[in-house]
Structure formats: C-alpha cells, structure tokens
C-alpha cells in the first residue's frame, strides 16, 4: 500500500538537485560546506501513520525523504564529502550521504518495494550494502562480488522487496575500512506490515560508530584499527548528543546499530531496565526476553530495546566501556594517580615560560590559557550540567523523562525535588549514624584506613591495629584531589 509522501515530488526533485549541486561542488573542491543545521523532526511528537506505524526519530539526524512511483518507494542517496561537526570545537572532513553524517535513516514498511538510487560523488568508487536485509544477491552491494563498483560520477539503482521488518543498516562495501572510517553508513528501519500491537510512543534510532581523530587533525585516520578516540551516537559526541525525551508512561523503543570498526559497545541505561525485543536477525520471542540495564551491541549488529518511562529525571544512556565516554582521550600519558599533578604542571611551566593552565573548564575563571590546545579538538572535554561539570563525552546522552510536558522539545535539566539529591553529610548526621571519620583515617595492618563505620570497642580500648614497625605512621597517604580536578580528573588524575 503506497505511503503518503512526506515531501511533494517537485520539492523532492528541487531539494535533490540542490543537494547534488552542493555535493558536486564539495567533491570538486574536497572542502565541503558546513553541515547544514539539523532539521530532524526528532523532538516533536510524531503521530502514527495511517497504516499504524509511527515514524522513527533519529536524534541529531534525519529521515530520508522518498516519493512513490508506480507503487515503488524511490529514494536517492548521494555519497559525497561532508564537513561534519561532532561537537562544537571539533569538525571533520568526512564522507557522508546527502550532505550529512551519517546518512539519513531510511524508513519503509514490510512488503514495500524500494528503489534506491545511489550517486557517487566521492573521489573513488563505492557501493552500498543493505545490512541484514533478505534481498536478491545482485542487490547486496559487495563490490566486485555481486556488482561492479559505482565509479565516481555514476548513479546506480538498487531495487528490491522488503520481506522482513526490524532494524537494519546500510553502509559502504567498497574499500570498507576507509569509507566506513570516513562515515559512509546509515540506519534502515522497516516497520511491520501487520504490527502485533500499538506502536511505541517514542521510537529512537541510534547508530554507534568510532573514529580516529587526532587532536589538531581534520580527517579521520582510516588506518587506525584499535585506538579510536571519537565514539559517537549518530555521529555526535556528548555534549552535542541530542537528549531522548519521553513522558511518564510512554513506551520507548531505542533501536541501536553498531558499525564501529572493531569495538562492541555495552550500552547502559540508568534509572530503569529494558527488554531486548529484537536484533537485526528478527524479533525475539517474549519468552526469550528478560530485563536488562545494559545491552551489548556487537560490531555489525542491531539491538532494539523497549521500556516504559516510569521514573522521572535525567537518566544517562551511555556505553559502559569507560574510555568510550571520553572525547579524544590520550593514551600515552604517565600515570599520575596518587601524585600531585600540580608538581608536573609547575615543572613544565618553569621550563616553558609561557606555559599556563590547560583548557580545563574547571579552572578558575579568569585564568589565562596562552598555551591553548591544538586546533580543532575537544580533547578530554565534557559538558556543563546543573551541578557542575559533567566529565563525560563520546557515547553519552540523556534520557529525559518528565511527568508533564506539552511536547518533546528538550525540557532542560530535571528540577530535583527537594531532599532527593545526594549532598555533603552534616556532622550531626555522621554522629547520629555512628560514622567516626577520625577512626577512618587511622592505619590498619595493610596500611589502609579503617572502615568508615566505627567498630565496637576493642579490648585495649582503642580502634584498630598499631602502626607497623617499618611504617611508623602506617598510612600510605594519597594526595588529596586538586581543586581543578574535581569532577574532571581525566586520565592520569589531571
């Protein structure tokens, strides 16, 4: 059954010509214009379509428009160079589709016949693989094996029936390690022709990927195999990742695909649990679903999770690989844990006369920063939060669950009800609960402090063991955290 076209045919054609001209110019100069502002309908409430499916939301992304010609849904993907902003301060010279990175989400319905034109404005051949789709072999997009590569300037036609529903992906299948490292990928969502129940209230699509962008560089390094330092949700890193907004009671679906080069990502949700309802292999029977708070999304796979938003607040959704929530993290630093980093800063400052404190957002206001950072970098930076600096980046976003909101625009930070926020304990509270801080700093046999709760009186009337002979004080004292480091310790304790 033909779907109503989201964009009139004339408009589609004009837009297509516009994008094509833009991409041609960009390809000619290999210096594409800035990514146009995101126009994704991600944060407005989307109504179900007449056949019952509710369009997906691609945070920070868009859905590919189409038109229907003789019952066939016609799409057009244009591969070309794109300048993309991962977050303010970090842009990359990438390759994308239709002027964006990643490519727009293709959305259709089970049983549709789709015709997807692919125009290549890259400086090298390419091809597109429809990842997870059950299609005829000649449409599978493996260059050299099931088709010849699409040469620069050529437009290929892919046409096939959609025989399944679920969450899938598309990506380059020619010179993959380069073209995928440069961003040529997108999500492909097929809604069921006959849904088993009502559509979810919020249906999000997130594509995971990873990049090697050395601070100061502008182009991803496609030769990197292990040490990726920009890890993205829909090609954005926190704090530029758009939040996922839901109302209390909404059934929320999150479709997560992973086209990273080598890393599987355990995506963890705070404040509740979800069920994994399907993979790119198909739906998981209810009997096989169980509650989770983390779903591992392997490379080259999709996982779809669902939950009912019931707990108001701002809840983190992030990869639980700790280094995957850092931006451009350096891995060649000396381990300063347990040391005073200011000693090192001072030594450097003394020898390099114009050395000044790094671009640490927690540094005191007015601190000069003549040393600066390399151009085009957001190394180690996170974002501002309602309680201070959020030392997170990369694969990190926020699920914002609210009780009463009129629309799904970003509602801002959650206003915590009084008395529900963790804060510094008062002396009265400590005394009331028998927390003896003095005892907690006395030495034990292994050199560490006591348990924080005071034990019952010992036979000698004291607390804990005496200092060892080799260590009269008996305590291995750690350097107290630096003021600048609070909330932004970073690697190496700085």
């Amino acid at each position: 059954m033909p779907m109503p076209m989201p964009m009139p045919g004339r408009g589609f054609l004009l837009a297509g010509i516009g994008v094509a001209v833009m991409c041609l110019a960009a390809a000619a100069a290999d210096d594409p214009p800035e990514h146009p502002p995101d126009d994704a309908p991600g944060h407005e409430a989307s109504n179900p379509q007449p056949n019952g499916y509710r369009p997906v939301i691609t945070p920070n992304g868009t859905t590919l428009p189409f038109r229907v010609v003789d019952g066939v849904k016609v799409y057009h993907l244009i591969a070309a160079a794109v300048r993309h902003e991962f977050a303010p301060g970090l842009t990359g010279r990438l390759w994308g589709f239709n002027g964006q990175v990643h490519g727009p989400t293709i959305e259709a319905v089970e049983g549709d016949r789709v015709r997807i034109y692919v125009t290549n404005h890259l400086p090298e051949p390419t091809s597109i693989h429809w990842h997870g789709l059950h299609i005829t072999n000649g449409m599978d997009g493996v260059s050299g094996m099931t088709q010849r590569a699409i040469e620069p300037g050529e437009t290929f036609r892919y046409e096939f029936d959609l025989r399944q529903h679920g969450t899938f992906m598309y990506h380059s299948h020619h010179n993959e390690q380069v073209q995928m490292a440069m961003g040529l990928m997108g999500m492909f969502v097929i809604h069921p022709r006959e849904p088993g129940g009502p559509p979810p209230d919020r249906d999000f699509v997130i594509l995971l990927s990873e990049w090697k962008m050395d601070p100061g560089s502008e182009r991803p390094d496609p030769f990197e195999m292990i040490d990726f330092n920009v890890l993205t949700f829909n090609a954005k890193v926190f704090p530029a990742t758009a939040p996922l907004v839901a109302k209390i009671g909404d059934r929320v679906r999150i479709r997560i695909g992973n086209l990273s080069a080598t890393d599987h990502h355990p995506i963890h949700m705070h404040g509740g649990s979800f069920r994994v309802i399907e993979t790119d292999g198909g739906p998981i029977p209810e009997a096989g679903q169980w509650p989770e708070t983390t779903v591992l999304v392997p490379v080259g796979s999709t996982r779809t999770v669902e939950f009912v938003a019931s707990n108001p607040g701002d809840w983190a959704l992030h990869c639980h690989m700790t280094h995957h929530t850092m931006n451009q993290m350096g891995h060649n630093l000396p381990n300063l844990t347990g040391l005073d980093p200011s000693d090192f800063d001072q030594a450097v400052m003394d020898l390099v006369a114009d050395r000044l404190p790094r671009n640490d957002p927690t540094a005191e206001e007015g601190t000069a920063d003549m040393g600066g950072s390399p151009k085009n970098t957001i190394a180690m930076l996170g974002g501002d939060g309602p309680f201070g600096y959020i030392p997170m980046g990369g694969m990190f976003t926020v699920i914002k669950v609210r009780e009463s909101i009129e629309n799904y625009e970003d509602p801002g930070w959650y206003e915590q009800p009084e008395g529900t926020v963790a804060e510094a304990a008062t002396a009265e509270e400590l005394e009331r609960d028998g927390i003896d801080l003095e005892a907690a700093t006395r030495p034990t046999e292994n050199g560490g402090p006591h348990a924080t709760q005071a034990p019952p009186s010992s036979p000698d009337g004291g607390h804990g063991s005496p200092p060892s002979p080799s260590n009269p004080e008996g305590v291995e004292r750690e350097v107290p955290p630096q003021k600048r480091g609070e909330g932004h310790e970073g690697h190496g304790g700085r």
Binding site: L336, D350, A379
Partner: protein, 471 residues
Amino acid sequence: MRRTQTLLMLGLLAAGGCVRSRTDGGVGLSVERVRSDVARRAGVGEPTPVPAPEAPSADPAVARLLAEPLVEAAAVKVALLNNRSVRELYERLGIARAELLQAGLLKNPVFSANAKFFADGPEIELGLAQSFLDLFLVPLRRRVAAADLCAEEAAVARDLVRLVFDVRRAFATVWAGEAMVAMRREASTAATVSRDLMRKLHAAGNALDTQLTIEEVNAARAQLYLEAAEALAQDAREPLIVLLGLSGRAPALTVAGRLDPPPLPEDMGDAGARALASSLDLSESSARIRSAMFRAGLVRREAWPVPDGGGAGKRESAGGWGFGPEVSTPIPIFDQGQARSLAAGATLRQRMARHAQLSVEVESAARRLQARLTSLRERAHYLRDTYLPLRERLVKEVLQFYNAMQVGAFDVLSAKQQAIDARREYIETTRDAWIVSLDLQELLAGSLNPYRLEALPLPDAAEHPELPKGH
C-alpha cells in the same frame, strides 16, 4: 714572462724611491708609521702607545680596561698595551733601523806602521789606506738596508694586525664557550627536572625501574655535557689571557659577547682585489725583492777591481823621509764574483717567484674566506630566523598536546630539551661565522694567516625532532 718581470722590476724600483725618502727618519718614525698603519688597518681607533719594556701590567689604562666586563675593543687595547710580543715586534724595527744606519757608514781608513831596525838606524814605514770601492758601494748598501727596513715595517705591521685579530678570535671563542655552557646548563636543568619527576612517579609505584633508569641516564649525560662545556670554556680563556699578556693569578674576566651573526664586511664585491691591494705580506715581499735586486747590484759592484788608495811615508835608515801614494788592487783572475752574483740573481728570482705565488694565495684566500663567511652567515641567519623558531614552535605545539592531555610532562620536557640542544648548532655556527669574518677582515687588513685556512669542521647536526609518544 720576461716582459712581466721587467715591468715588475721597474715598478719596484719606482717604489724604492719612496722607501729611500722614508728611511731618513729614526726608529721613532718607523714605529709611528707602523702604529698608525695598524690602527687604520685593524680598526683599533687611536694608535696605542708602545708597551714599556718594564712591567706593562702596571699601566693604569690596562687595569681600568680590565675592571669592566671585557668587550672586544677593550680586549684589543689591553693586548696592544700589555702583550710583550708587541714590544718584541717593535724592537725588530730598531734593529732594521740600525742596519740602515750601518749601511751608510764608510769603512774606516787603515793606518799602518812598519819599523825595521838596522845597524845604521831604524827604517820606518807609515801608511794610510782607504777603500775607494766603499765610496761606490755605500749608496747601494743603504738601498739594500732601506728595502730591508721597509720589509720589516710591513712584517711588523702584519704581525701586529694578526695579533689584533688573534685577540678578537680568542674573544669570540671565549664568548661562544660561555654561551655553550649556558645552553648546557639549561639542558641539564631540563633533564634534571625530568628525572626528578620520574623519581616521584617511580616512588608512587607508577613507573618501571627502566623508565627511571632512562631518566637517570639522560640527566647524567646532560651533566657530563655540562661539565665538558665548562672545561672547554675554561680552556678557551687561556689563549685570550696569553694574548692579553696577563700574568700571575688567573684573572677573572667577565666577557660580554654577542649572539647575532656577524655583518658582512663593507664592499665585498671584489674581496680578492682589495686583499691584493692591502696585503702587508705582498708589501714585505716587494721590499724583499727590492732588497734582493739592490743586493744583486751590490754584488756586481763588489766584483769590480777598484784599488784601495792611500799614502805612504818611509824613513830610510840613513835618516831621510820619503812620501808617496799607495795603491793596491785585487787582480780578478780566480774570483771574479761569479758565484755571489749567481746567488744574488737566484735569490732575486726566488723572491719574485714567491711574490707571484703569494699573490695567488692572497687572492684565493679572499675568495675562500668570503665564500665561507657567506655560507656560515646564511646558515646562522637561517638557524636564528627559521630553524630555532620552528623548534620553539614544536615545543609550543607539544605543550598544546599536553594541555589537551594527549602527552605527558616528559614529552614537553623532552621537546624542550631538543629545542635547547638545537641552540648548540646555532652557537657553533655563529661562533664559526664570527671567526671566519675575523679571518677575512684580517686578510683585508693585510695579513694572510695560513693557519686560518685550515678546513672548518662542520658542526654536529642537531637531533631530529620526534613526535611525542608518551611514557
């Protein structure tokens, strides 16, 4: 070739007239002429007094100059006032002047007396003889001596010019040695700081023994380099102290130097022609040729059979005196002066050949030093204006990576150490450029210094920069 020699000889004879007119003065005139000439050629300013033979260090002017941080011009004045070899050089003029005086004197007449005793009384013969040949030879001898005096004046002036530039070179070497010590001290500080940080890291259990040992090795190596640089700097002071003529306890010299490449000498267009025109070596050589030429004429005259003449008186034993002229003359049967004449001719031709070859060497040295100076100046300017700023830029960029937490403090310190080390090449090149500039100035001031034409060693290249990889 024969025509060239004839022209050269005519020219030399013409020049000899000037020399003759100048030889009328005494030693003071020669000294004054040399002092003025040296001051003009070497750019000393006012001619300095000739050092007194006794205790020149007591000169209050010397003490005054040494009391201040020593700049190059002051060092030159101290050397000219205080270095005993300056006095020694001026004494050569006294000797040459004495020889000129000697050459103008006639041989003394010879008185002879002869008595024989006979039975009838003594027979007495008296005679007084004078060499007539001397009357002809004295002017020639004066010409020879005057030419020799002229040669000595040129040689003394050249040696004083060389002394001035030796002082300037020694000064530049001391200055460069101290700049090197300062650089090595800074490098050692950086290595020590890096080692101390690694010690902290190691003590905290965050670093390997090997990482600490590497830092210890680097710090020890930097300390060794510093000590070597200090020893070389101390060693470089002694030649300057000797040139300044300072004795007793090692004086505490505070040397004020410069770290910029030298300027090009003015009018570098035809350094060869300038060097030829101003060469004191060629002036000396010309005077030696004139001397040999006059000596050849003298030798020929000496072979003439000119009789000695005089008068003789005789008293016979009988008691009567008789007087009459007396003439004696050699008979050139065997020795006609051929050998001396041949030797004089050979000496003349030898000096002419040497003069011609010396001209070639002076011109070549000018070209060679000019090319060296141009190359070294360009290298020093490139190091100062391009290379060192690039090394500093690299430090700043590594610092930015430190700020971005991509590299650690050790990487910044390592980049800084490399940037410091790169200054070694600049110091060495600037020093060499100054010394070659002084070599060329010395040549243009008239002194061809063969010791300065030895090949210049190329400085060791600085370390290649490396991207920091962290520890």
